[in-house]
Symmetry: C2
Subunit: 403 residues, 2 copies
């Protein structure tokens, strides 16, 4: 008998085999050059990173008592309380035992499908959405229902019809993943009455609502939309927040607040053992005594200005039939392109002109978005935003002329 | 029809339901008081933390170019190369594409069972072992085979007989989890010929060998046992190393090197998205230019001395029929207790005397270890080690007198 040489992949679990080494949905990312002005990604503005505060914070926490910072220890209790207090300020009646400090929001977004989803289960996402999260969900073999995003965020009529249709078919979706506040990628802010209805729909259909609130503090005018945790039915809401956008993505510190049964599983499954306590103490230290509120106010001034610069550049350089979203916060503007300007060829031309954006197809799990684009105003300098938009506008005119 | 009120736990995945909210195997942890001298846990010596180097390192990396440190970015390429070079120094022919920087070794240990194990699959662990890892494995619903640890580490005759028996029964275990170097909890160092045989057994039976090498650099005399990656059959070896013991647990930075197919899945499943690059840059910065080697030499002097202090205290204070392991490195001494000194009652008495240790049952997945104890010399000061051992010795005499 000739034996085929053994390979470790024979040892793979059922899930590993079923899901396969699938190509990433994120196949359409721009192939940027080093000189490209990238408006593709929602990185934070590096000039806003509080370098001095972070260095002083490290010096402080390591000089006071390095043991619980650098040995095995739980996350900072001070940070847990700071997050709880911030939620309370937004009108949430916080049960502190249901609040968890996590290693970035991606940590929780990756664990939730393992806790909730089997191969073949149905989940509901917005289209377009944050595909970093949707990729985690897809990796569990879930069937993904996509709900369009209107001017007011997720289209709740379509959502209700979808929930009704699924229920008729005997399907109870595991969760709805939504970004109601300055949605990634559209920048849309869901109004109060829609927020209330979305929570009510989740409760009526007994489906978990994952509220990814990454941009909640970044309302240019300094106000806050009501927390999804403040409406009737909030026992079906899992709120996820992060310090990535209000301090720095690199601190990898976030939080989750949700139903007790799910929080207990999150703690049980938390796949990387205890978080390093270091960053949680550092974030708590630099955020204390009102510093975080002052920093957020500065960020909102900065990002409001950068958005205005991008808005003015779009008005000056894009053809009139390219429609872009007007936003009041967050990191992104989203564009809807006319039929003769498909995003994928456009980004290739744009990169030749020295600028890039994110093609809309990378924001959908279902192949939609061929004529859509995400533009991030968060990362680049105002000069680069203006130049980048002008270059993309030039690419639009060139592509149009060659068709 | 009266409907039972809906609960989010109805949404749980098959795995969540099957595994249940199981009680932790770690049910037997000492309930220490704040005045207890704990010899239970393998925390690092906080007086060895390089505070000044870490503060200077943060200042440096944030002043040079904070963008790739604090925004979304891959781990430090410099750190990847530093780890590769260190493996090469130990005689490993390193394929850099198979090396991954991870968020602590727990991150990889948690992902491996998801990649490899279905409910009902068999895995093989040492008994006693590091139950933090074994708990991750148990959470996937695996059947656990326990191989005893002798003076030379895992008993390879029992391992071979087990592999043979399982094969006869048509069972191919998914992996063998071993800590061949200064094993947690016994401190045993597997000799060269046994290391060779262990790798050969994994290859013969076509089973993955997970080499948890957390203590590999901590040989008191500064030497290195041969890497498990350096033997014939190493294509079945997954090596996991960490900066936890040689820098600080709180940096949560580790690495994994293994078969290509598994490394690709690890990257695909890496559940918390990109690691924060911050810590990887900081570890690379402080470790550069030979600093890490000098630091490890200092650590080995420190830990060798603390072990000698614990050894002398044990000889002075423990009854002669308590047998403890002699070790050449690592963090732990392991004790075998006579029939009239069961560990669980003993630790209660010891805590009344003001000291604690880890009962052996917490190091077994199968309830063994009732008359065994782990003593960590890594964390406490030399004064506390002496006092703590004296107190535990007094507890032994008291418990013996009352029986």
């Amino acid at each position: 008998m000739v034996r085929v040489p053994a390979d470790v992949s024979e040892l793979f679990s059922r899930d590993s085999r079923q899901i396969g080494e699938s190509e990433s949905i994120l196949h359409d990312l721009p192939n940027e050059q080093s000189q490209t002005i990238s408006l593709a990604y929602g990185d934070a503005d590096p000039t806003c990173f509080p370098i001095a505060a972070l260095v002083a914070g490290v010096e402080h926490i390591l000089s006071v008592n390095p043991d619980p910072i650098l040995n095995y220890a739980p996350p900072s209790a001070q940070l847990h309380e700071l997050v709880a207090t911030r939620l309370e300020r937004r009108g949430v009646a916080v049960d502190r035992s249901r609040l968890m400090i996590s290693h970035g929001s991606g940590h929780v977004l990756a664990l939730l499908p393992h806790i909730l989803v089997d191969v073949g289960d149905t989940i509901i996402v917005e289209g377009p959405s944050f595909l970093g999260a949707v990729e985690f969900f897809a990796s569990t073999g879930a069937t993904i229902e996509t709900i369009p995003v209107t001017e007011h965020g997720m289209d709740l009529d379509v959502l209700e019809a979808t929930l009704k249709r699924l229920r008729s078919a005997g399907i109870r979706p595991k969760f709805i993943y939504a970004i109601p506040t300055f949605q990634n990628p559209t920048g849309r802010l869901m109004p109060d009455h829609d927020r209330r209805r979305l929570v009510a729909l989740a409760a009526t259909y007994e489906v978990l609502l994952i509220d990814d609130d990454a941009y909640g503090d970044l309302h240019f005018d300094g106000s806050h939309a009501p927390s999804m945790l403040s409406y009737p039915g909030s026992e079906w809401v899992m709120h996820i927040g992060t310090f990535s956008k209000i301090l720095a993505p690199g601190v990898r510190t976030a939080w989750a607040y949700g139903p007790d049964a799910i929080m207990r599983r999150l703690r049980q499954w938390k796949s990387d053992g205890p978080n390093g306590p270091f960053m949680t103490h550092l974030v708590a230290r630099v955020s204390a005594d009102g510093w975080l509120d002052r920093h957020i106010a500065t960020l909102n001034q900065t990002y409001a200005h950068k958005y205005q610069v991008m808005r003015a550049a779009i008005d000056a350089h894009f053809p009139a039939d390219v429609v872009t979203t007007s936003v009041e916060g967050g990191f992104f503007v989203y564009g809807y392109l006319p039929a003769d300007l498909p995003a994928r060829p456009l980004v290739d031309v744009a990169i030749r002109h020295g600028a890039s954006f994110l093609p809309g197809t990378t924001c959908y799990a279902n192949g939609q978005g061929t004529h859509e684009m995400r533009l991030a105003f968060s990362y680049q300098s105002v000069e680069n935003i203006t130049t980048g938009i002008a270059r993309i506008g030039a690419a639009m005119r060139e592509l149009r002329a060659t068709r």
